[in-house]
């Protein structure tokens, strides 16, 4: 007679089963070929991904745009929990992302942040969460990681590398993002299940802008007449 309890345990994705432990990893393509290769298929679904950008503005969002688009196209909600700035709608529309699939959530306390993150993961939404001060504890991350394992959704956590890198984490993937130049990212693998840490990958997100213009070379506003050299005016 089949035992229902055992059957329920066996259908879980996180049950270890002797020989055939190489159960196919469920991943979601990142939209970048070389990154897919590095991550053995793409972003892990049913797990949290920790992204550690050195500073905001280096391309951490552009990296996720294909994933965002994938979720929005599939009619699933994308929750932005405590983003540092406001997402700019024209740029998102330019990337063909449906705005009504985005939801910005502002939490007022650590408890609210954790609750909202867990609820989003469990309701089949794509979570992009920016950690608050103080950084989430190991137990909190573990809670979110378990929620993600149950729900089978990708979830991204943005933290600052200087605060997080020293401490252990229960998440399946930890990537540090550095900038090599404009539109050029250097990804460092700090943790990944089934792979050794320390691998690096340079990723280009678009054309590199090499040319830098000197302030003095900017076109001059002729309407106001008084400017021949804008810098003089700016200094004054």
């Amino acid at each position: 007679m089949p035992n229902n309890n055992i059957a329920a345990v066996l259908t879980r994705t996180d049950t270890w089963r002797g020989r055939n432990r190489r159960s196919p990893r469920r991943t979601l393509s990142t939209g970048h070929r070389s990154l897919d290769l590095l991550l053995q298929g793409g972003w892990p679904v049913s797990s949290i991904t920790e992204l550690l950008p050195q500073q905001p503005g280096i391309g951490e969002l552009s990296l996720l745009l294909p994933t965002l688009k994938y979720y929005a196209d599939n009619n699933q909600l994308c929750v932005w929990l405590d983003p540092p700035y406001q997402p700019y709608a024209p740029a998102l529309v330019g990337a063909n992302i449906a705005l009504n699939k985005l939801l910005l959530v502002r939490s007022k306390s650590h408890g609210e942040w954790l609750w909202a993150a867990e609820q989003s993961i469990r309701s089949g939404a794509l979570l992009m969460a920016w950690t608050r001060q103080p950084s989430p504890r190991y137990a909190d991350l573990r809670k979110l990681q378990l929620a993600a394992a149950d729900s089978g959704n990708a979830a991204f956590l943005f933290s600052s590398p200087s605060k997080v890198l020293g401490s252990p984490s229960p998440v399946a993937l930890r990537l540090e993002l550095e900038s090599l130049g404009v539109n050029q990212l250097l990804l460092t693998l700090h943790k990944m299940r089934g792979k050794a840490a320390g691998e690096k990958l340079a990723l280009s997100l678009g054309e590199p802008w090499a040319q830098r213009t000197d302030l003095a070379m900017l076109p001059v506003d002729r309407h106001h007449g008084y400017l021949s050299n804008p810098i003089l005016r700016l200094n004054g």
Partner: protein, 472 residues
């Protein structure tokens, strides 16, 4: 079929209890419980006599308004059993069940289901079953019948019914007695012409209706347009946990109402009223995606956690006025499961809304404006963008926008915001609001030494530099 209901608010059940009504300046007993009957109290007794018989008698005044609300609730219950429900003089209900035979797989199952439903809600009811409403009313027995009697039994019972049960004037009853007529059978045995000579047209109409010769006309029950229900707690409720039980009951009734109307609610409002003082209101906006009481209760509970309540609560009311038609998705006809993710999203928004408040949630909205801060605003979730610009600007647009443009410093002839910045492309001129205060800005792309890109602008009027966004 008819269900006649004794209107008894369920309260202290172990004491002798009587409900009194005012009749021509005298208080008469309307009904009483079994404990009171043991003391010899019966309906139509005056209150003073009743109190003389039983000094411990607990007397409650009749509350018509409450009775009516109760009857409306019952009508809703009945409405889920039959499409044709008629309220009778605020004391009973008629249900037409001949059309519901197939749905319930037999009348007996229907009656058993109905009895179970009523028992679950601790309502005592009696019923009578017959081919027409008036006959059903006359055939009401002292208990609830769960078996459909055969039509000959129905006819036999009807003929054996005492004439005193007929709803006629006292004078008419007298003349029945004088004629030696005791049962309906005696009355029906007389020739029609003799009857019409002796009695008025009203009785003739009743007889015709009882014999199903004349159709019965009445306006059928329709669920009200708004939902309002109240639970009273004379003892008072002192903590939030114990509030949940009465709230659950109210939500179950709301869901019954919603099912009857085949719609979903968009908003519900709770009112918690203390004995003295202002009631505390709690409004909940819903996405209208769900209709079951347990999720509504979860949402209410989440929102209740944020609420400061009066110390003791006497009365809880629930209002709901805004509804939308239930989407077909309830029946899950959708082949690809798209509907499910939409519903999950709606449920998530509802939950976040209940716990964090609506002010915590927003959604980027695109508008056809020139200034970036007006082109991209934040609005309430669920509102669709008014315009969908098909051809967005070719110029590079940042993904992050600063809520307020941040002024940029100049250090050693170099732009400086957090770090030294250098321009890499531009300008793109943006003009807006020329009809108010003209704003003319030149937008530039800048980057710092580490490669992060910024969106800067210089106001042409005063040549000041600002950071307005981050390319990310």
């Amino acid at each position: 079929m008819e269900t006649l209901l004794p209107q008894m608010p369920e309260e202290q059940a172990h004491k002798p209890l009587a409900i009194v009504r005012l009749h021509k300046n005298a208080q008469l007993v309307l009904c009483c419980n079994t404990q009171a009957s043991a003391w010899g109290i019966e309906p139509e007794l005056s209150l003073s006599t009743a109190l003389a018989l039983c000094p411990d008698l607990l007397v409650l005044p009749r509350q018509l308004e409450q009775e009516q609300r109760h009857l409306q609730q019952l009508a809703l219950v009945a409405y889920s059993f039959s499409p044709l429900v008629i309220l009778y003089n605020d004391i009973g209900l008629w249900l037409e069940i001949s059309g519901c035979h197939k749905l319930f797989k037999g009348y007996d199952t229907l009656l058993q289901d109905l009895e179970k439903r009523l028992r679950d809600q601790s309502i005592t009811a009696i019923n009578g079953i017959a081919q027409n409403p008036l006959a059903a009313q006359l055939l009401c027995q002292s208990s609830f019948q769960t078996q459909l009697p055969s039509s000959t039994a129905m006819q036999r019972n009807l003929l054996a019914t005492d004439l005193t049960r007929l709803d006629t004037s006292h004078k008419q009853q007298q003349s029945f007695k004088q004629l030696g007529l005791n049962t309906l059978g005696d009355l029906f045995a007389l020739p029609r012409s003799a009857l019409s000579r002796r009695f008025d047209g009203q009785l003739m109409a009743i007889i015709q209706q009882l014999k199903s010769e004349k159709p019965f006309t009445a306006t059928p029950f329709q669920p009200a347009n708004i939902f309002h229900d109240v639970v009273q707690n004379p003892q008072g409720i002192f903590n939030k946990e114990s509030l949940l039980f009465p709230m659950k009951g109210l939500l179950q009734r709301l869901c019954q109402y919603l099912t009857a109307r085949q719609c979903h609610c968009l908003e519900i409002e709770w009112r918690f009223e203390p004995l003295i003082g202002e009631p505390q209101k709690m409004q909940m906006q819903l996405s209208g995606s769900q209709n079951n009481w347990s999720s509504l209760l979860t949402l209410s509970r989440l929102q209740l956690e944020r609420l400061e309540l009066p110390r003791s609560i006497e009365q809880i009311s629930l209002y709901s006025e805004q509804f939308i038609e239930a989407p077909m998705g309830v029946f899950n006809l959708d082949l690809f499961g798209d509907q499910q993710s939409t519903q999950e999203s709606c449920e998530l928004i509802d939950r976040l809304n209940a716990r964090l408040g609506i002010e915590a949630l927003s959604q980027p909205i695109l508008s056809e404006e020139y200034l970036p801060e007006q082109a991209s605003t934040l609005g309430l979730p669920g509102v669709l963008s008014k315009s969908n610009i098909k051809d967005p600007s070719k110029a590079p647009q940042p993904l992050w926008l600063l809520t307020e443009p941040a002024p940029v410093q100049m250090r050693n002839q170099q732009l400086y915001w957090r770090q030294p910045l250098s321009i890499i492309s531009g300008p793109e001129r943006v003009c807006g609001n020329w009809w108010q205060s003209e704003q003319q800005r030149d937008y530039y792309l800048a980057c710092d030494n580490k490669g992060a890109r910024y969106w800067l602008f210089r106001e042409t009027a005063n040549q000041r530099w600002f950071v307005h966004g981050l390319f990310s």
